[in-house]
């Protein structure tokens, strides 16, 4: 297409789109910078200059300890934060669009509560949480896979119940959000009952699990996360135009040829699945799924072709920055990242609400 063939409005639109594309690239650049910085933050300091010199000389001459810390502790942790942040923000952006509700996120739809309930079941009934070693700062699970498996089951159960109710009763988006809130309350209540029945160590395990922590996944689990992320992202990309149409009245979106029911069903299923996998591996991480899309929307607008990747990068930057903060702030102690995201997320969200442009009266 030659630019001369189109009007000045179209050229201006293309220019605005390019600017927003640069915005997405800037977010990606920020992510790379925070990621590189995060590699060198921790209780053990690694000499950045020595590392760069050795890389420039064509090799990676690190002591065995440093190599182990970089490759088996910090790198997986950074990748976990990137995958969890981007996945939760992507799921949040999709849910907010499909449910036409700015408060929709994996957390508000009961998926996180479902996962916490599943983890509690595993800890109480399947020995998932017998405490192997415990000190003031760490609890490790004897049978972590049963916790992950049950947490995934709980998260998926919450999502499936909401989706089934929506399908059977032909619910609208508002009712789906309310059903999610109700399921979240139900799972919270059920988790409390389990905590009441559990002994002190099991209660500690259950509570500890709910502190989202990006250091839990190992390389095998990261590969699973990457595969889930790649598949869901591909499908979301193909739905971006339809999601834009859904910003209009639902009947208008249908009149543009969008199968709204199918879009909502497939999109919600994929977003719930993505959030369920992340929560099962890393526990409850609040606010990233809510905040990431809202921040990206302010920078990139509502066009989902750019908003979806933008939200993913924004969520990844937020979670990685929060995790780096938890590692650097009280070093050598490490706070669970979920506490920081909630601490900083809530005031940031309030700030966004106060500053947001109100619709024309």
């Amino acid at each position: 297409m030659s630019d001369g063939a189109v009007s000045c409005e179209a050229l201006e639109y293309i220019r605005i789109r390019q600017r927003r594309m640069y915005g997405v690239m800037t977010l990606l650049f920020c992510l790379l910078c925070v990621g590189c910085y995060a590699l060198f933050v921790g209780s053990l300091s690694i000499d950045l200059n020595a590392l760069l010199r050795s890389v420039l000389q064509g090799g990676l001459s690190l002591s065995e300890t440093n190599a182990h810390i970089l490759l088996n502790i910090r790198l997986p942790r950074i990748l976990s934060a990137i995958l969890a942040g981007s996945g939760l923000a992507l799921a949040g952006a999709v849910m907010q669009n499909l449910l036409k509700n700015p408060l929709a996120s994996p957390f508000t739809l009961g998926i996180s509560h479902g996962a916490a309930f599943g983890a509690a079941v595993a800890i109480l009934f399947f020995s998932g949480g017998r405490v192997d070693s415990m000190n003031a700062f760490a609890i490790s699970y004897v049978s972590p896979y049963s916790v992950v498996f049950f947490a995934f089951g709980g998260a998926l159960l919450a999502a499936v119940v909401v989706l089934m109710l929506a399908s059977l009763r032909n619910m609208g988006p508002e009712s789906m959000v309310l059903a999610g809130v109700a399921m979240g309350s139900l799972f919270s209540a059920a988790t409390m009952v389990l905590q009441y029945l559990a002994n002190e160590l099991q209660v500690a395990s259950m509570v500890f699990w709910t502190f989202g922590d990006v250091s839990r996944p190992n390389w095998n689990e990261l590969w699973i996360l990457m595969a889930v992320m790649a598949v869901t992202s591909f499908f979301f990309k193909t739905m971006a135009w339809d999601m834009n149409a859904l910003l209009l009245e639902e009947e208008e979106a249908r009149s543009l040829g969008v199968n709204v029911t199918r879009l909502r069903w497939i999109g919600m299923s994929l977003a719930s699945f993505l959030a369920a996998v992340i929560t099962a591996f890393m526990g409850v991480i609040g606010f990233v799924g809510l905040l990431g899309p809202h921040m990206a929307r302010r920078v990139l607008g509502e066009d989902h072709v750019l908003l979806l990747p933008g939200s993913a990068f924004m969520g990844a930057v937020l979670l990685l920055a929060a995790d780096t903060l938890t590692r650097g702030l009280f070093s050598p102690f490490v706070l669970p990242v979920g506490t920081i995201t909630s601490f900083l997320g809530a005031p940031l969200f309030l700030y966004l609400l106060i500053c947001r442009r109100e619709p024309h009266a």
């Binding site: 297409m1 189109v6 179209a10 209009l248 543009l256 607008g301 066009d303 619709p359």
Partner: protein, 249 residues
């Protein structure tokens, strides 16, 4: 020529439309009139295939329209809702959405040209990059009509297009619709409550009562008796400088 034949719609077991039949020639503006709950909006949705009719067929220029094909239907019909939704898309982006039924991948130069024409036709060029949640109600309505035009439909369906507008914007929108129909051979079907607007800008009238056609035809079907039977009010139709005006008495 659009022909609607034997269209019936039920919500559950409740009949909402019963055996509706009418036709509309190219360039024609049809006003669907009736009291609340008469089935006017359902008629628009059934024509577009948004509501599955129990019986009935729709023909465009003698060819039956497959209502199950959303994309096909979206190339023939465009719909403007009663209250278009405000969102963070710019006017340009929202009008570009109208090209969705024609898109194969990215928008082409032709898509951009169609959008520019639609914006220009609605006088929205200056507002092209304003967000939909920052413009007035009248501008929002015009943006919705521009998006419908960008769909390049043959039939434009509008659900109370002037209900949220002041008198000046009502006149502007109706004049634009009338011009579109006449200049581009578009068929316009609009649900209206304002009988005066209908009388001024439409050339065919369809009165619905309890889901059935009560009266249909040209200007002469709008009489005091019909208005009384449909709305239950006494009315007079006056002629002021060649313009018919309905006055409830």
């Amino acid at each position: 020529m659009l022909e609607v034949k034997g269209l019936s719609v039920c919500y559950g077991t409740r009949p909402v439309l019963t055996h509706v039949e009418f036709s509309l020639a190219s360039g024609g503006v049809l006003s669907v009139l009736g009291n609340n709950g008469a089935g006017k909006t359902t008629l628009l949705k059934a024509i577009m295939g948004l509501v599955r009719p129990k019986t009935g067929e729709i023909y465009l220029n003698g060819i039956k329209i497959p209502l199950h094909s959303r994309k096909e239907s979206a190339r023939i019909f465009a719909y403007v809702a009663q209250s278009p939704r405000r969102c963070g898309l710019s006017v340009f982006e929202s009008v570009l959405l109208g090209r969705r039924p024609h898109l194969n991948g990215r928008p082409s130069a032709r898509d951009y040209r169609v959008v520019e024409q639609a914006l220009s036709c609605m006088g929205l060029n200056n507002l092209a990059f304003q967000r939909l949640n920052c413009i007035s109600g009248g501008e929002l309505q015009k943006a919705a009509i521009a998006r419908a035009m960008a769909q390049e439909p043959q039939v434009l369906l509008l659900d109370e297009p002037t209900s949220n507008l002041d008198v000046r914007n009502q006149m502007e929108v109706e004049t634009l619709l009338c011009n579109l129909a006449k200049k581009q051979g578009l068929m316009v079907i609009q649900v209206l409550h304002d009988l005066n607007m209908a009388l001024r800008f439409s050339d065919r009238f369809l009165f619905l009562k309890d889901g059935r056609i009560y009266k249909m035809g040209e200007r002469d079907v709008v009489t005091a008796n019909v208005i009384h039977d449909i709305y239950g009010v006494q009315a007079k139709i006056l002629n002021v400088e060649g313009i018919s005006i309905v006055v409830a008495v």
